[in-house]
């Protein structure tokens, strides 16, 4: 059992949990993820790591309440326990293995969409700790769904954009990137994390702009350790398992249409309707059901 030390609602249906998980906190690096189960009889779902504290042995999760399991996780209060927190899984971001000198020469931009904002934070924070500057674009549907803004401001140059223009710039993240480009910003490296549809369109744009782009693939997973292949996807014509070969891949090589198709595997017509009913206008994507 893994004890929840702190639980807060960051935005409607988006919850932050600080969980005691010393083994994960001891070894995790930006880019890696976790498999979590709320209760003994629950489903295993992949979640990203938003932050970690090696000294205290804690990890921070940011979870959007979408399916049965994530709802259960979001209902946890300080003092409750999660049945299972497995990790860190997947590979660390490529940035972690590059030389700091090389990183300092690069102009790096992160593009975060919806709850995908959470896994961008540890990467930006890690770069800051290495003395590397970066730009981060956060995209949210509206003002109320912008999360982690203050924390980002302390580690990067931040641009916030909302679909409805209720806060920051107006429009999708791709528009923001294009605008920055038109304003004269040039990047050598882009990391995009968010709903697959967002990553797909970011990749389309960065290909035109000639910016190498890394994406973090949020596929369906079961074990998260490479034993089942539920998370398989095609990258550069090769079959890869997101949990062990990724989750980060060269975005210009990923077959997004196929990956989005595979997200529909357990989506039934009923499920989709129920989701629509539960979520109403607050639904912001990233769930894999709404593509």
């Amino acid at each position: 059992m893994f004890k929840v030390l702190e639980a807060n609602e960051l935005a409607t249906n988006i919850h932050q949990l600080i969980v005691e998980a010393p083994r994960v906190a001891g070894t995790c690096l930006p880019g890696q993820f976790l498999i979590v189960r709320a209760e003994e009889d629950g489903e295993r779902i992949p979640l990203t790591i938003c932050d970690y504290d090696r000294e205290k042995g804690t990890v921070e999760l940011v979870v959007q309440a979408l399916g049965a399991e994530s709802r259960k996780i979001c209902r946890k209060k300080a003092g409750d326990c999660l049945a299972d927190v497995v990790g860190p899984l997947g590979n660390a971001s490529d940035l972690c293995s590059e030389s700091i000198e090389d990183l300092k020469k690069k102009k790096i931009v992160f593009i975060a969409g919806g709850v995908g904002t959470a896994p961008v934070y540890p990467q930006a924070k890690w770069l800051k700790e290495q003395g590397v500057e970066c730009d981060v674009i956060i995209g949210a549907k509206n003002k109320d769904l912008v999360i982690l803004e203050e924390r980002f401001k302390s580690v990067c140059n931040l641009y916030v954009t909302t679909d409805d223009g209720s806060y920051g710039r107006e429009g999708m993240v791709t528009k923001c990137l294009q605008d920055l480009y038109d304003e004269g910003k040039r990047y050598d490296h882009c990391v995009a994390i968010g709903p697959m549809i967002m990553m797909k369109f970011v990749c389309k744009l960065t290909k035109e702009l000639g910016i190498p782009t890394i994406v973090s693939m949020n596929t369906i997973m079961v074990d998260g350790t490479g034993m089942c292949g539920a998370c398989r996807l095609t990258v550069g014509g090769q079959v890869k398992f997101a949990c062990v070969d990724g989750p980060e891949f060269d975005g210009h090589e990923v077959d997004f249409d196929q990956a989005m198709k595979r997200m529909r595997l357990y989506q039934t017509e009923e499920g989709r309707l129920a989701l629509k009913e539960q979520e109403g206008d607050t639904h912001h994507g990233g769930c894999g059901h709404c593509n």
Binding site: R23, D84, G87, T225, C228, G229, V239, V244, Y266
Partner: protein, 462 residues
């Protein structure tokens, strides 16, 4: 009625028509009367061949004599000296090619049903609350066991009985390895059998830490350097599934047998109450002919599908146990032999709509004596289906070997280890089971776990 000594006492089974619709255990096992009648058939050979056929060398005639005398507790302790998982082995071992294959009775009639007797003893011991005997003295030395499958549980159980302080590290949320995620409920009940057997291993003093992925959560080097483990046994299995790399394999409705079985067995998706979803196909093709293919096929059948096993060789060559093939046939699984998929066809929404196969014929035997299948040109045909389960075998996960410095692997990514004592190229690190051999059987993994426990004891006694 007097039992004919040449014929084994038959074991009761669930009716094929009924069991095809449920996940209850197929084989019901012996009752006491039947078990003793079967035990009477054992000749108590002075030079027992059956023991030679058992990879963990259970003293078979001894436990059968004890059973014959009605002393189940003694019989259980005799088995426990050699095996940590008798209720499992009695159910899933291929006895026909091991202990029972060597039984003298089998020369003229039926071999003694050693597996069913072992199962009876273990089940009865469990019902009566009999536990295995633990170590008399502690050695004060820590050993880490990676993986809680059959190899790891056996190695841990043996080491604990020798007095070592053993911790098992398991990546999943449940201990048991293939016993919990691979072998279905209808062959090996999870709550009633596997869980209890693992509790028996824990009762010997073995600690199990779940949700730890070695190579990610912590490395072997760090276990030895920072956490005080003086030796490590790697029993991480061979859980990496293979696919065919044919067109259409990414279609919706194509699964690895590992995924399908993990959802059903470990996550209990076969039950309507489960929060983990599973596809319930209408017509399903299972590719492969091993035990895992039989398990996947029989699981799909119980979820309501018409199931076709597609295997590239013939009936004779099916690598699955005879008993499993028979059970599958009785339940109505259709065998499409001597054919192989070449493409998976999908509909406009990306779902599987069929499997295009080609007929095969067997060519000349290769070096290993197996006749290799050759495609018959122009013989393609389609099987209409909405799901395809790939059961083509598995290989070891490279996670541990790639994160442990100095651990030698062969070109199949199997860890190189001495068969006698499990020694690897790295000092203090031992390995066994599927991680070394590639996918094999439960009992062979247990044999390797046992050998490694002995090897570790020798290493730490120096």
């Amino acid at each position: 009625m007097a039992q004919d000594v040449w014929t084994r006492v038959p074991v009761r089974e669930q009716d094929a028509k009924v069991r095809a619709t449920n996940f209850e255990e197929v084989c019901l096992g012996y009752n006491e009367q039947e078990a003793i009648a079967e035990a009477e058939r054992c000749l108590n050979c002075p030079n027992p061949q059956c023991v030679k056929g058992c990879p963990v060398s259970i003293n078979i005639p001894k436990f059968i004599q004890e059973l014959k005398e009605g002393d189940v507790e003694k019989a259980y302790q005799t088995i426990s000296e050699s095996s940590a998982l008798p209720a499992v082995c009695g159910r899933v071992c291929p006895q026909e090619s091991q202990c029972e294959g060597k039984c003298v009775r089998g020369v003229k009639g039926d071999a003694v049903s050693i597996g069913k007797l072992e199962r009876f003893v273990a089940d009865t011991a469990r019902e009566r609350g009999i536990k295995p005997q633990g170590a008399k003295e502690k050695k004060g030395k820590k050993v880490a066991v990676i993986g809680s499958g059959p190899a790891g549980l056996t190695c841990a159980g043996d080491l604990a009985r020798m007095g070592y302080d053993v911790t098992i590290f398991e990546a999943l949320h449940e201990a048991g390895g293939v016993l919990v995620y691979g072998i279905p409920e209808f062959r090996l009940p999870k709550e009633a059998v596997v869980k209890k057997e693992i509790e028996n291993v824990e009762s010997l003093g073995v600690k199990i830490e779940k949700d730890v992925v070695i190579g990610k959560s912590v490395t072997i080097d760090s276990l030895m350097k920072d956490e005080g483990f003086e030796a490590v046994f790697v029993g991480s299995g061979a859980g990496l599934p293979r696919f065919m790399n044919i067109p259409g394999e990414q279609a919706l409705g194509v699964f690895s047998a590992n995924e399908f079985l993990t959802r059903s067995n470990l996550m209990k998706a076969f039950s309507e109450d489960s929060t983990t979803p599973i596809m319930r196909p209408k017509k399903c093709v299972v590719v492969g002919g091993g035990n895992v293919a039989m398990d996947a096929a029989r699981t799909a059948l119980r979820l309501g599908a018409e199931v076709h096993i597609v295997y590239r060789r013939g009936e004779e060559e099916l690598p699955a146990r005879r008993e499993e093939v028979e059970h599958a046939k009785q339940e109505g699984i259709i065998f499409d032999l001597l054919c192989n998929p070449v493409e998976i066809l999908e509909n406009e929404d990306g779902w599987v709509k069929g499997c295009k196969c080609i007929r095969m014929e067997l060519g000349e035997p290769d070096e290993s004596g197996r006749r290799s299948p050759v495609e018959v040109a122009g013989s393609e045909f389609e099987i209409e289906c909405d799901a395809v389960i790939m059961s083509l075998g598995t290989s070891p996960n490279p996670l541990i070997s790639s994160t442990t410095e100095g651990l030698e692997v062969n070109r199949r990514k199997c860890i190189v280890a001495d068969e006698e004592n499990g020694k690897t190229s790295k000092d203090g690190v031992f390995a066994g089971g599927d991680a070394v051999t590639g996918a094999a059987t439960v009992i062979l993994a247990m044999g390797a776990g046992k050998a490694a426990a002995k090897g570790i004891d020798e290493y730490l006694s120096k």
